[in-house]
Symmetry: C2
Subunit: 341 residues, 2 copies
DNA sequence: TTCCATTGCTGAACCGGTTCAGTAAATCCA
DNA sequence: TGGATTTACTGAACCGGTTCAGCAATGGAA
């Protein structure tokens, strides 16, 4: 039905092999012949069949992304859509496609990777939400599946990582609060099993230490809204309650802010609040949320580009370091009102 | 490297063809032989190569989803992640994969579909965000790409649609407000080019008419937060300003509520507010948002199932009607306080 | 007993590319 | 000028399944 390489070969008066060489920029064809073949291909509107290519070259011409997240988090996270859009923008330039899998339970995650490999669906995968002691690294080594990771797990990994310093965003937030006179600055942490959960916490600790302040107001949570509420409540109940809370993401910050407001605290009067992610709704809260913004589109674009380079053998394996996230100061942070003891 | 059909054939002492017939449940093999072949395949751990299958049968064993949305909307919309998860849950049972494309500009959308077809990436696609006069319908007919649509466009379409009555959700919201004594109930509409934007508006109009109330407080918007703010401002400036606003989605409602609060209105005292979608953050606003919740997971599951049925030729082409969305009453709606003239 | 139909299987073609061994012609070098 | 090397191309094998024509064996009907 569609035009095949044989049609082109016939039209150009050469063999299939010659067409293949010519169109793939391989040597072994003279310039005149190449020109003639290219012309014939254009004339006939030949699009090489990806299926045939994939079959004969054992490639999928696709990358995979397995997202293992609670749906409640996925639906409010501005990171993923933009990240995926970034991946796409790179892939579409290279005739690659993105195969997306959502794994809702932990077992499903491993099964997803195995299926992607067994089915020969993808040539490589992008790992997000890196965990400390991340089992996926061993899994992918076993499956011999090329990968790129977002951030580095503490598990030694042979895969190229895209890194940034979450540090800088959190540091900027803490410094901003210190500049406003706050001394009791708490942190509501994201799940500490995740690299970004932990690194944000460590950044908060270091920033306080650097200013000679104690980092003792920590409440563990899990990036969810309800977790944010619980953690906020615990912090606000303390006799030495904080005058500012640095949250590990916008969803927890939103929930925390709402909790504080409904319990008689004013924001930022009694309590300053910062988030992380720059979710679209965050600037439409009352007060709008001071938050930290990274560039997920760029992350996605780069992650895909690095992985493709790696598949082509043109990447040196060096980690890529991305610019640090930016602090967006909005209404939820203000000068400390009075100093309680 | 991997075990192929020839290995199985050799092990079972039959021809490749026999193996193919046996494992695909086709006639032409005796039960004993079939049993022996199945045994041999299991023994060797044979997984038929999807690539080879796809190549020889001209199938992709994958469905496509092209998302053409502003990133700002995608990142806050709880619908898509859950919808995709639903698709996945069906596909994973059928050895199908999901190829996801994000199209950021209108031209990119058409290009995406064309690429999916030309590359033979997918066997069918799921259309979301149906528009009135939707150009994709003609495009997919031209491309001969099977599809399932979410909601029906007014453009006649040969594709099976999954339908529901947005009507019921909005009607419930309006009735709830009327029950609270409201008579000036406004609507901040989503982009009217979309089927769901328009149907929500019509539902609002009908519900008011049914109660003998005028449907004159309409402000057009586009589902975005900033659009929601502008529309809200316009409504609240009117001399006959509403005592309740029904928004077409949660993001606009959130932005609208924040706008109202910062301009001296109390919610729900001066103004009751309802959203649509049940975004995770919506219940953590202050006050928490009364909203309308559908079941995107189920939608996804069904959409994929119907499309697969269709590809297998076992679907009758009838539209699928889904249960109506539910109203979730929370703090942003309350009794009307006083009646202005 | 003969003829026909059915069952169960084989062998080969086929899908549309890539890749490699082989060959004829052109070019180079001594 | 002759031999070696290089260039430009062909033909065929190959990837791993599906599918179909054909054939032998079996069973049933006449």
């Amino acid at each position: 039905m569609a035009v095949t390489i044989s049609d082109v070969a016939r039209a150009a008066g050469v063999s299939k092999g010659a067409v293949s060489y010519a169109l793939n920029g391989r040597p072994g064809v003279s310039d005149v012949t190449r020109q003639r073949i290219v012309e014939a291909a254009k004339q006939l509107g030949w699009k090489p069949s990806l299926r045939a290519k994939g079959f004969s070259s054992s490639k999928a011409y696709a990358l995979g992304l397995v997202v293992a997240r609670d749906l409640k988090l996925l639906g409010t996270d501005p990171f993923f859509p933009a990240f995926i859009a970034g991946i796409e923008s790179t892939l579409s330039e290279h005739e690659y496609a993105l195969v997306l899998t959502i794994a809702t339970d932990p077992d499903a995650e491993e099964r997803s990777y195995r299926k992607l490999v067994e089915g020969g669906r993808v040539d490589g995968v992008i790992l997000t939400d890196m965990r400390n002691d991340d089992s996926r690294i061993a899994l992918l080594r076993e499956l011999k599946l090329p990968a790129v990771t977002l951030e580095r797990s503490d598990t030694p990994s042979p895969f190229t990582a895209l890194r940034t310093d979450d540090t800088d965003g959190i540091t900027a937030a803490v410094d901003h609060l210190i500049g406003l006179g706050h001394t009791r600055i708490a942190h509501v942490g994201g799940a500490q099993a995740y690299v970004h959960g932990r690194s944000r916490r460590l950044a908060w600790e270091r920033a306080l230490s650097a200013a000679g302040l104690p980092a003792d107001l920590f409440a563990d949570a899990d990036f969810t809204a309800s977790g944010g509420v619980t953690a906020t409540e615990a912090l606000l109940r303390r006799p030495d309650r904080p005058t500012a809370i640095v949250y590990a993401n916008d969803l927890m910050a939103t929930a925390g802010q709402s909790f504080a407001l409904t319990h008689g605290f004013t924001v930022p009067g009694d309590l300053s609040i910062t988030g992380f992610d720059n979710a679209e709704f965050a600037q439409y809260l009352n007060p709008p949320l001071t938050t930290i913004s990274s560039d997920p589109l760029r992350w996605g674009r780069l992650a895909a580009a690095v992985l493709l380079d790696q598949l082509a053998g043109t990447h040196d394996g060096q980690d890529i370091v991305l610019p640090p996230p930016r602090l967006l100061v909005r209404g939820s942070t203000g000068p400390v009102r009075f100093s309680t003891t």
